[in-house]
């Protein structure tokens, strides 16, 4: 992993959870959060000066809250809507972290968010460049950035 990528990754993720989903993360995880599973995952692939993918893994029990907050609708508990909400959140994190790493003049192309099958192994075999964890209520989010080559 590349340690200097973890701070921009955490900042982009935390501000996106706050601004988009009105969920306020903590950097330090309590005991409950540390053991909370992150069964739901989405992935956004990107290409540009360097290529890779960003994954967001979330405790599934947080999905309804995430969707309801993003839509401002307490009834927004439909699972497909909630997964779409998580995908959009991943898209915004990815769109904000890449210029923080590469600079604002570089152009990246982002793919549509894709849902991850639990336990599936990505065939690209890209190395993990950075990882950030966010404590959220009684769960957590884990953000993983995989990069081909040396970013920045």
């Amino acid at each position: 992993m590349i340690s200097n990528l973890e701070t921009p990754l955490y900042k982009a993720a935390a501000s996106t959870f706050e601004d988009l989903a009105m969920m306020f993360p903590s950097r330090e995880l309590d005991e409950l959060q540390q053991v909370a599973p992150t069964e739901t995952g989405v992935c956004v692939r990107f290409a540009g000066p360097f290529a890779g993918r960003l994954e967001v893994h979330l405790t599934t029990a947080l999905l309804p809250t995430l969707a309801a907050n993003m839509l401002g609708d307490d009834e927004a508990t439909d699972e497909s809507v909630a997964r779409d909400a998580l995908g959009e959140l991943a898209n915004v994190i990815c769109g904000n972290v890449l210029p923080a790493i590469a600079g604002s003049k570089e152009v990246f192309h982002l793919s549509a968010p894709a849902h991850l099958v639990p336990g599936a192994v990505d065939p690209s075999g890209l190395p993990l460049a950075a990882r950030a964890q966010l404590g959220l209520d009684e769960g957590r989010a884990e953000i993983r950035l995989f990069v081909a080559g040396e970013p920045g």
């Binding site: 996106t16 706050e18 601004d19 988009l20 009105m22 969707a67 993003m70 839509l71 401002g72 809507v81 779409d84 909400a85 995908g87 959009e88 898209n91 915004v92 990815c94 769109g95 904000n96 890449l98 210029p99 604002s104 003049k105 570089e106 152009v107 990246f108 192309h109 982002l110 793919s111 549509a112």
Partner: protein
């Protein structure tokens, strides 16, 4: 005057968030149409009267940039104001979008920014609008 607005984004959640923000913003909204990509968006423009287009950039089938090019090339749609609402942060790409006559709003955005951008691009003023008070006290950021 109420604006008929077309929202083009491949995420149904983001379309819903943008429409909710529009309604919070105090901008007079008439009919709201939705499309999931640029091609669908152009079809809506052929079928409906639209005063303002809000669109994403990265979409399957046809991107937002391609849709703007098609709009600018057609006499019927060349003058319709366009606001790009995107996570795009590249100065190079944002500059290219502005050169096509579109405004740019970065995701996530507060409702006030969307309202100000709509006023600027449509040439309307806050005084002309009713419901500006809907924003007062609002702290939602999208």
């Amino acid at each position: 005057m109420a604006f008929n607005i077309l929202v083009v984004d491949d995420s149904a959640v983001m379309r819903a968030m943008i429409i909710k923000t529009l309604r919070l913003s105090g901008v007079p909204v008439g009919d709201v149409f939705q499309a999931a990509n640029g091609e669908e968006g152009l079809q809506v423009l052929r079928d409906r009267w639209v005063d303002l287009v809000l669109l994403d950039i990265n979409m399957p089938v046809m991107t937002g940039e391609e849709m703007i090019r098609h709009m600018r090339a057609s006499a019927e749609t060349s003058a319709i104001p366009v606001i790009v609402v995107s996570t795009e942060s590249s100065d190079t790409r944002v500059s290219a979008i502005r050169k096509m006559g579109a405004e740019f709003v970065h995701k996530p955005f507060p409702p006030e920014l969307l309202r100000e951008t709509i006023h600027r691009i449509t040439g309307t003023s806050h005084d002309q609008q009713s419901g500006d008070s809907a924003l007062q006290g609002s702290s939602l950021d999208f």
